[in-house]
């Protein structure tokens, strides 16, 4: 079936189906959400007002048998950063959306009054229904209720209490194949959904399928692609330990931000490491390997059970464990898992919220290491919307201002994740220049050589480091546009057959003839589109800076400081 745009207007509660404009037809995932936001959202609008729009888009290969193609992309102007924002997640929604022929869902406007709504997507389009019963409920209750009300097989994207209260750290949860939750985590997109008064979106493909222009070619390319993924040693590590395998490594490098970024190593790192987590999962009958969407061959997710063997959380990521662990000086995985579960239920970004706690600890609101108080605050304050809860839910930057803390690890008001930029400077460049605030996934490891975007400057010079970071961000933007999981990057880096096979799959899916150069140009265009939106929103090069404390405070054990000048960082946009 031909792809369509589903448009929902929450001001007049109308829906429509539109043809896909020609200039959107070759886009998917982040490429499409950012293009639509840039085209239709006034850059200076209030992110929680009627002029912001919330866009959902599957990837170019979502809904097909392509390995690791099931990421759903969500975009809007961010209430946390004020920039353009894209966040993506696994789960079943991307594949269902693609199978119903929906290339993108655009939600615009804002209803008057206090009523709440839900959206139902089918191949016939979107419909709006009033919702009362599930308002005020957490995401797990929503998943259970919708499973009973509609079907266990429907896709579901929802917000918890944090999204309803339009907290800047609110995320959007996406149901995974086991009925657990994945998250479009960063940038407060859950608050945007809450501002539209939409509690959840259900998706039913009703037996729809994605058409493949050249099935034989597609199958051959997918076989090559999947083999490259499965065989890669990083995939093996991810499938065994998940991303939390990085705790020991980053700690050893002195880059594990500890106690609100005051140290680079955490004494309790062994208690929260991926190795320890793996053993606990196996011991308690959980799953060390688990896929967040059908067709994933890496299986970096996991099912983490409590000590009684009952489900506690899934998709237990390094960045979340670091944030609630080392950054808050908590060395107990079960406590961290409890917090992760609560954050999933309330619907909050685990990085932003935990970094906020770290800043609050620095400010004296609670003590470092006091996981019980963190859990209490999440349950009794944040979920209930008390004044303290709303302060915590507003993000690390705001809490730093409220408590007069100068060590506030944010860029463009978004919390810096789990890699200290003083110890790993290449990531610092990405934090500074990302169009979406501090985000480690913006400049991921992609096949720079294969895409012919390798740098020309001396790689050891600062100029060369900025150039490499730029090229990583260009390549990442391109891969994000396909809607593929970023973890394909490792195989794409090392296996000469992997990225060409991905391009072959896209060509076979649509009957086109993309080249590697096209993909590179796509990445450049996406970055420029996002950057131009931010400039129009009032951001300048002065916003592409790390917080001052990174230059002033050497981080033990290597006592490195951030030493890139503003002029050096500004060369990032010279392309």
């Amino acid at each position: 079936m031909p792809e369509k745009i589903f448009r929902v207007n929450m001001t007049d509660l109308s829906t429509s189906i539109e043809a896909v404009p020609d200039n959107w037809s070759g886009l998917g995932g982040r490429g499409l959400t950012s293009t639509i936001v840039a085209a239709e959202v006034p850059p200076t609008c209030h992110p929680l007002g009627p002029n912001n729009k919330l866009i959902f888009a599957p990837g170019l290969l979502s809904g097909t048998a392509a390995a690791n193609s099931g990421r759903i992309s969500c975009g809007a102007k961010s209430p946390l950063t004020g920039t353009i924002k894209e966040a993506n997640a696994g789960g079943t929604s991307a594949q269902i959306m693609a199978k119903m022929g929906c290339k993108a869902l655009i939600i615009e406007g804002q209803p008057q009054g206090d009523s709440w709504y839900s959206l139902r997507l089918t191949p016939e389009g979107a419909s709006i229904e009033k919702e009362e019963k599930l308002i005020g409920k957490g995401n797990f209750a929503v998943v259970e209720a919708i499973g009973q009300r509609l079907s266990e097989s429907v896709g579901l994207m929802s917000i918890g209490q944090a999204g309803e209260m339009q907290m800047a750290a609110a995320n959007i949860s996406v149901k995974d194949p086991d009925g657990h939750l994945r998250s479009c985590g960063r940038g407060g997109l859950g608050a945007v959904m809450g501002s539209k008064k939409i509690k959840f979106i259900s998706l039913d493909a009703a037996g729809g399928k994605v058409e493949i222009a050249d099935m034989e070619k597609f199958r051959a390319a997918n076989k090559t692609f999947a083999k490259a993924l499965v065989d890669h040693p990083v995939s093996q590590a991810l499938g065994t330990y998940g991303t939390n395998v990085l705790v020991n490594i980053i700690n050893e490098a002195g880059g594990l931000p500890t106690r609100n970024f005051s140290k680079g190593q955490f004494d309790g790192h062994e208690q929260i490491s991926g190795e320890t987590m793996h053993d606990l999962i196996v011991e308690r009958g959980g799953k060390p390997k688990h896929n967040c969407h059908k067709g994933c061959v890496i299986n970096c997710s996991q099912i983490y059970n409590d000590s009684a063997g009952n489900f506690k959380t899934s998709g237990f990521e390094y960045e979340s464990i670091w944030a609630m662990g080392a950054d808050c000086a908590v060395d107990n995985l079960d406590k961290i898992a409890e917090m992760d579960h609560i954050l999933d239920d309330i619907g909050m970004d685990s990085i932003e919220t935990a970094v906020t706690f770290g800043v609050a600890m620095e400010g004296g609101m609670l003590k470092f290491g006091d996981s019980d108080e963190m859990i209490r605050i999440l349950k009794d304050e944040v979920a209930q919307g008390t004044p303290l809860g709303r302060i915590i839910g507003s993000g690390a930057g705001n809490v730093g201002k409220i408590y007069g803390v100068t060590r506030v690890p944010v860029v463009k008001n978004q919390a810096i994740p789990a890699y200290d930029p003083r110890a790993i400077k290449g990531i610092g460049i990405t934090y500074a220049t990302s169009t979406q605030g501090a985000d480690h996934t913006m400049g991921y490891t992609i096949a720079t050589e294969i895409l012919s975007v390798g740098g020309k400057a001396d790689p050891l010079s600062k100029e060369g480091q900025v150039e490499l970071s730029r090229n990583l961000q260009i390549a990442t933007a391109a891969i994000d546009s396909t809607g593929m999981c970023l973890f394909i990057a490792f195989a794409a880096l090392d296996n000469a057959t992997c990225l060409p096979a991905l391009i072959d799959m896209i060509n076979a899916r649509f009957g086109i003839n993309l080249t590697g150069a096209d993909v590179t140009n796509l990445g450049m265009n996406i970055l420029k589109t996002e950057h131009n939106f931010n400039l129009a929103a009032g951001f300048t090069n002065k916003d592409d800076r790390l917080p001052e404390f990174f230059a002033l405070e050497p981080i033990p054990p290597h006592n490195a400081v951030w030493d890139f000048s503003g002029e050096e960082i500004d060369t990032f946009w010279n392309f």
Binding site: A237, V245, E252, S273, I424, Q465
Partner: protein
């Protein structure tokens, strides 16, 4: 790598470092140790002869030996203990590769292909020919790691230029004939794949590492069938009492089916 120096190289694994700088050597013969891959192209690592000499000259003071017999199917769970590291000692200027290849189960091929991330003193090391010197050092090894950070720290990775160039702290100088004390940490797949052999053959670890490990992984105690301290059966309580008092122990962990 099979050669006449190898038996002593394997004995190197049993060098012990005490906080008071006493040194001892394990008393096991690894000359028949299985799993060491043959290699005819390892001439780049000539240090083994010098290591052999150092081992042969090392005194043998007594140390406390802790032997645990555990459920065989639980053996793998104990390998996570090695993320905290174990201790050994090598001559000055020993190459990293020479040290690693002397470990039970390690071969040059394994080191080249599987060991993709190496930290020496918290700084990434790209070259297994890099020499060790000074009084002490922490060496950590890992398989290939995910993410940009994983790529940045990867051995000879193309993203190495994105590392922070930390000023190297001058190492405490040591006389040429004073061995360097190494704390070797095995992370992730490396510990899984080689840890059981290392534990079965015995290694020197800090008593507090074992105590902490058994504390935060308290269910592992139920898999311990037998605890011997210097050959004498002991209770778990007695084991913990010992671990409170000691700094370094010689730990052996074997499966119950191995006896």
């Amino acid at each position: 790598m099979q050669g006449k120096g190898l038996p002593a190289l394997r004995s190197l694994f049993f060098l012990v470092i005490f906080p008071n700088n006493d040194i001892t050597v394990g008393d096991k013969d690894f000359s028949q140790y299985p799993g060491q891959a043959d290699c005819t192209s390892c001439c780049a690592w000539p240090q083994k002869r010098r290591i052999e000499q150092a081992v042969m000259d090392t005194p043998k003071p007594s140390t406390t030996t802790v032997s645990l017999t555990v459920d065989t199917d639980a053996l793998a769970k104990f390998t996570t203990l090695l993320q905290g590291g174990f201790f050994l000692e090598v001559p000055q200027k020993t190459r990293i590769g020479d040290l690693l290849v002397s470990l039970p189960g390690f071969s040059q091929e394994y080191i080249n292909e599987r060991v993709q991330t190496i930290f020496l003193g918290g700084l990434p090391a790209d070259d297994v020919d890099q020499q060790l010197f000074g009084l002490d050092a922490v060496l950590a090894i890992s398989a290939a790691m995910p993410g940009l950070a994983g790529a940045i720290f990867r051995k000879n990775g193309i993203h190495a230029s994105l590392r922070t160039t930390a000023e190297k702290v001058p190492l405490k100088s040591a006389q040429a004939d004073v061995p360097i004390k190494i704390r070797l940490k095995l992370f992730n797949m490396i510990a899984v794949e080689k840890g059981e052999e290392i534990l079965a053959n015995g290694c020197m670890i800090s008593a507090s590492s074992l105590k902490n490990f058994l504390s935060y992984r308290h269910t592992l105690s139920s898999h311990i069938r037998e605890r011997k301290i210097d050959g004498q059966n002991q209770t778990l309580h007695e084991l913990f009492s010992l671990l409170e008092k000691k700094n370094i122990i010689n730990l052996t962990v074997k499966g119950s089916h191995d006896n």
